[in-house]
Amino acid sequence: MGIFQVNGKNQEIETPVSLVEVMKINNVTQPEMVSIQVNGEFVSRDDFGTVQINQGDEVDFLYFMGGGSRC
């Protein structure tokens, strides 16, 4: 088993694990809704399918958020 962080919280599953699998586990169902950082580096949307997450990695899902006034 490997431990890595998703949005600052530990997750424990068999590593390495594909980023796509991590997205699935974290209910990120629409890839177009998030920007993803792994260890502080942005992952290009084209690479979502190929990136592997390893023990100790830090994954951040940054979500699009609107709000405010229609302007």
Partner: protein, 267 residues
């Protein structure tokens, strides 16, 4: 600037702050801030900046007040329903602090007017609910070399970051607007009213820090919070060398109006 006795009294709690003082209050009073959107975020930003005595506040919004706005857009009151939001906001600001000069724009921010309007201000606050305008604000501010505060809220969540020339911009983090309708707006998904205040007051604080030069701005960091757990997180973000607007080889050389979501629901 010479403050009157009343002004010294009005701003005394700022002046008492060692980091602000009379000098800092002068900087606030000389400040010119543009608020894009007089809604959930723009309302608390406008009220706190007015109370703080920001010299000039510009407000751009093409909408009128709707009854469903009053749950969170605290600058608008029940008798304001159907009134232009910029007018409603201006009236409250004038009542709160007659020192403030309010400039209203009852229109939408577009690729054709953005640079001209933004150019007249020291700091821009993004209080809009849609991604085309968020990216437009970002691109226009980057091009004009203007600092701005990004803010977003949805359901129980909020996020904000401050962008200065040279720091990570909104596009460095989010690249391009999501496909229309992929991401719901507050008018579609709902929002807990008070989190507009939580996020808006953080944005107003950043404006006052910028104007006075006090503290460390929320640059190269995205602050997010969830009101259900009341957990706040700050995620470090980096200037992206491949960014289409501020990267090494920018591909965006002119401002564009992105296509708006097709099913616009009145908010």
């Amino acid at each position: 600037m010479d403050f009157t006795e009343d002004q010294i009294h009005r701003y005394s709690r700022h002046i008492l702050l060692q980091d602000v003082g009379v000098e800092g209050q002068e900087k606030i009073s000389n400040g010119k801030v543009l608020i894009v959107g007089a809604g959930g975020l723009g309302a608390p930003v406008a009220l706190y900046l007015a109370a703080a005595g920001v010299g000039t506040i510009g407000i751009i919004d093409g909408d009128v007040v709707d009854l469903s706005n009053l749950q969170r857009q605290i600058i608008h009151f029940t008798p304001d329903v159907n009134k232009a939001k910029v007018l409603s906001a201006k009236e409250k600001i004038n009542q709160l602090n007659p020192d403030v000069k309010v400039i209203t724009y009852r229109e939408l921010l577009t690729a054709s007017n953005a640079l001209e309007i933004i150019g007249q201000y020291d700091f821009i606050v993004d209080g809009t609910d849609n991604f085309p305008v968020k990216f437009l604000i970002n691109d226009a501010c980057v091009k004009a070399g203007k600092p701005f505060s990004h803010g977003g809220i949805l359901r129980f969540d909020g996020q904000t970051m401050t962008v200065l020339p040279g720091t990570a911009c909104y596009r460095c983090v989010f690249h391009a607007p999501p496909p229309p309708n992929a991401v719901p707006t507050c008018s579609e998904a709902g929002v807990l009213g008070a989190i507009a205040g939580m996020l808006g007051t953080i944005q107003a604080t950043e404006v006052l820090k910028y104007l006075t030069g006090v503290g460390d701005l929320l640059t190269n960091r995205l602050l997010t919070f969830n009101a259900k757990t009341m957990e706040f997180r700050t995620i470090k973000v980096k200037h992206n060398h491949n960014c289409a607007v501020c990267g090494d080889h920018p591909t965006i050389t002119e401002l564009v109006d992105y296509e708006q979501a097709t099913c616009e629901i009145k908010n």
